[in-house]
Amino acid sequence: MSSASDRKAYWRSNLKIMGVLLTIWFLVSYGCGIIWVDSLNKIQLGGYKLGFWFAQQGSIFTFVIIILVYVILLNKLDRKYGFDQDTPAEQEIAKQQAKEGEKEWEL
């Protein structure tokens, strides 16, 4: 179903996505929140000093968005390489578990 080169290409794309997202992760927290905090604090965002805002609010918002983007991009990547299809055995397990899951939610 999938060739070795497909798997290599998939892994390379995955690493690229991770690299970009982790760079952003580093820049908002360690960068804006700690390293450049003094210069950013000279800028006001309403009542917030910008550096303070990044350290206590902005970085956390960005983290949530980073994971969201990762989920979307990786799902797309899975589809491109056909890795989103489960094997028949897996589908069977998933179906059974979904049924059990529903039972819990009726509670």
């Binding site: 179903m1 798997r7 997202l21 805002w53 918002f61 994971i67 899975d78 094997t87 059990e100």
Partner: protein, 647 residues
């Protein structure tokens, strides 16, 4: 004996229901606890797979909610806002550290560990590094980290009970143990997961409601994240944070929003990094990603988890600033006691005491608010009148030369001074500074609604929320401990032949023992619990994280590298912490620290050592066997599509 018990129950009831506040707290706690127990009875575990990972069938949204509750402990709910209140910008390290770790977890670990498809972290380490030695090291780390954590949770349960339900800390811990026993031992991961979903709802509601009301009171904006950056209500052009900076600087404290000292950046960088990486390496958080059906759901549930965590974590800085602002405004320079005098017409003409407001026949206002007197009795908020002016002065520095302890009279009552104030224990001496107010920073969240004068139902709700936070985390940790013992130790190392039923029996037995030990530490906390909890992150960062990360991203990394790396990371961090905290605490100042990095941040250095030594050893020793390299290839692909062709 029996009559004595009934009599003491009688007094308890009488005291308990003598005020509205207690009735509300009691009502909320009973209500939420019945929900938890109901869920636990409904979701009993039948097999060891259900016990360990809820059968691997939890929908991602539910798993995200459960992960959030699992992760947010009594420390997040009760302690973090207090930490920010008293440290301002510097406490950002906790905010970024504890949330940023989720990004690492979601991008680098969770999907691959789910694909690997076993139950625990030691499972992964043992299989990936084809070594029982590695498995046992990982197992010991997991148990150690979980125990240090859980003791703090049980203590949190005890504190909430003692303040809000009129029972002693010891009885509070026992009640907490009984509840956790119900759903952790019977329900296993399945019971825990669905209880945690309910607990997340309780704790987030309890945290947001007071924040919402106080934000409206102070700034007019209902959203605390916006309120924190807004103008103070009724004072145009005056931002709350600027005003707070100014109040603190006037009293001699550091600015709230900035760190103006020198050379702190590297330490903050290292501490934040140790917390982030430690978060990603915590066994009770990682284990949650084994409970969803597949890799895509693992990714999705990491997103949900951080989203739900972020709601509380972005509100906490607002709660912190609001409560600091309110506390100083209601307490600083206020007289402890205002004379209560019957006011007649003649007295209004010639008042005997300085008063700001006189209403006929009513006590005089502008003294301390009532909540001060409630907390005074607990020994967590106290006043020592150094200059004998009868007013409360709040300045930098500790009031006494040790931690405040209430003085007790011979018949067991708290000893009071001339004005009725609670006195410090005779063993304490007043410090040289002028500060007269002793505040335990952990009370900020619990006292916050009282400080803002909110209705008793809100105050009771906060008590239920604190319990939800502590219990959910305690349950998750108990599960890690019992799984480590029954699965990783008994099944994988000691008795590989045992049946599923026996394994389940050991799992339940181990959680009973673990609850008992945790309860013991909750009742008799060793003085260093709070400290050790902080170090647990450093240990997780220095031991687990590099081994898991390299296990996924570097397939030629072998067992020799992993084992030496874990040992070097763990021992160097432990050595540094033990030296500065227990052997030579007087040397624990920035000048003596390695590059100015304190014990809390040293896990960062330990992690780097782990990477460097591990990679060097791995390069000098034989590659891992081909089947292990194939296993690594396999976990990188989200489904089983590649498998058929290879084999």
């Amino acid at each position: 004996m029996g009559t004595l018990m009934i009599a003491s129950m009688g007094t308890w009831f009488q005291e308990m229901f003598s005020n509205e506040q207690n009735i509300w707290s009691f009502g909320w706690v009973v209500f939420t606890f019945s929900i938890y127990i109901g869920i636990a009875l409904y979701t009993r575990a039948g097999s060891s797979k259900e016990f360990y990972v809820a059968g691997g069938g939890v929908p991602p949204l539910a798993n995200g909610l459960a992960t959030a509750a699992d992760w947010m402990s009594a420390a997040s709910f009760l302690g973090m806002a207090g930490l920010i209140s008293f440290n301002g910008y510097n406490a950002s390290t906790y905010l970024m550290g504890w949330t940023g770790g989720y990004v690492l977890l979601a991008l680098c670990l969770a999907p691959y560990l789910r694909k690997f498809g076993k139950f625990t972290v030691p499972d992964f380490i043992g299989d990936r590094y084809y070594s029982d030695k590695a498995r046992v090291i990982a197992l010991l780390c997991a148990i150690f980290i979980s125990f240090t954590y859980i003791a703090g949770q049980m203590r949190g349960v005890g504190v909430v009970f003692s303040r809000f339900l009129n029972v002693s800390v010891e009885k509070g811990v026992l009640i907490g143990m009984a509840i956790v026993f119900c759903y952790a031992v019977l329900g296993g991961m399945k019971g825990i997961t669905y209880t945690q979903v309910a607990q997340y709802c309780v704790l987030i509601f309890a945290f947001m409601v007071p924040a919402f009301f106080i934000s409206i009171q102070l700034t007019g904006s209902p959203i605390p994240q916006i309120g924190l950056g807004a103008e103070i209500k009724g004072q145009e052009g005056v931002y709350l944070l600027d005003k707070l900076d100014q109040i603190l600087v006037d009293l001699g404290f550091d600015k709230y929003t900035e760190n103006l000292s020198e050379g702190w950046k590297l330490n903050m960088f290292a501490t934040t990094c140790a917390l982030m990486v430690g978060t990603a390496g915590l066994p009770h958080v990682i284990i949650r990603f084994f409970t969803v059906p597949n890799v895509r759901d693992a990714r999705k549930s990491a997103f949900y988890a951080l989203f739900f965590i972020a709601i509380l974590y972005t509100t906490a800085p607002a709660v912190a600033a609001f409560s600091m602002f309110n506390m100083i405004n209601t307490v600083s320079e206020k007289p402890y006691k205002v004379e209560k005098i019957e006011v007649t017409e003649t007295q209004i003409a010639t008042p005997l005491v300085a008063v700001t407001e006189v209403t006929e026949g009513v006590e005089i206002a502008d003294g301390l608010p009532a909540w001060f007197y409630n907390w005074e009795k607990t020994g967590l908020l106290n006043w020592y009148d150094k200059n004998n002016d009868g007013k409360i002065q709040y300045y930098p520095g500790e009031v006494m030369d040790g931690k405040w302890k209430n003085a007790v009279t011979e018949d067991g009552e708290v000893a009071r001074g001339l004005l009725g104030q609670v006195l410090p224990d005779a063993s304490l001496k007043a410090s040289e500074n002028e500060n007269e107010l002793s505040v335990d920073r952990d009370i900020m969240v619990l006292a916050n609604p009282e400080i803002a004068n909110l209705h008793p139902w809100v105050i009771g709700l906060v008590a239920a929320g604190g319990l939800a936070a502590a219990l959910s985390t305690a349950a998750g940790l108990l599960l890690v401990i019992s799984t480590s013992v029954s699965h990783d130790l008994m099944k994988k190392v000691i008795m590989p032949e045992m049946s599923d039923k026996t394994e389940l029996f050991y799992a339940r037995g181990a959680s009973i023992v673990a609850i008992a030990i945790a309860g013991y530490f909750g009742i008799n906390p060793p003085g260093f619990v709070a400290e050790v909890v902080g170090f647990a992150f450093g240990f997780a960062a220095a031991s687990f994280f590099p081994a898991i990360l390299l296990g996924i991203f570097y397939k030629k990394f072998n067992k020799q590298g992993a084992i030496t790396g874990m040992l070097v990371g763990l021992l160097s961090t432990a050595g540094y912490v033990i030296y500065f905290k227990f052997i030579n605490p007087s040397a624990n100042v920035a000048e003596n620290h390695f590059l100015g990095i304190g014990p809390n941040g040293f896990g960062f250095v330990g992690m780097i050592l782990n990477f460097v030594v591990g990679l060097a050893v791995s390069a000098m020793t034989p590659e891992p066997p081909q089947e292990i390299q194939n296993l690594v290839e396999e976990i990188r692909i989200p489904n089983n599509a590649g498998q058929a062709q290879d084999h």
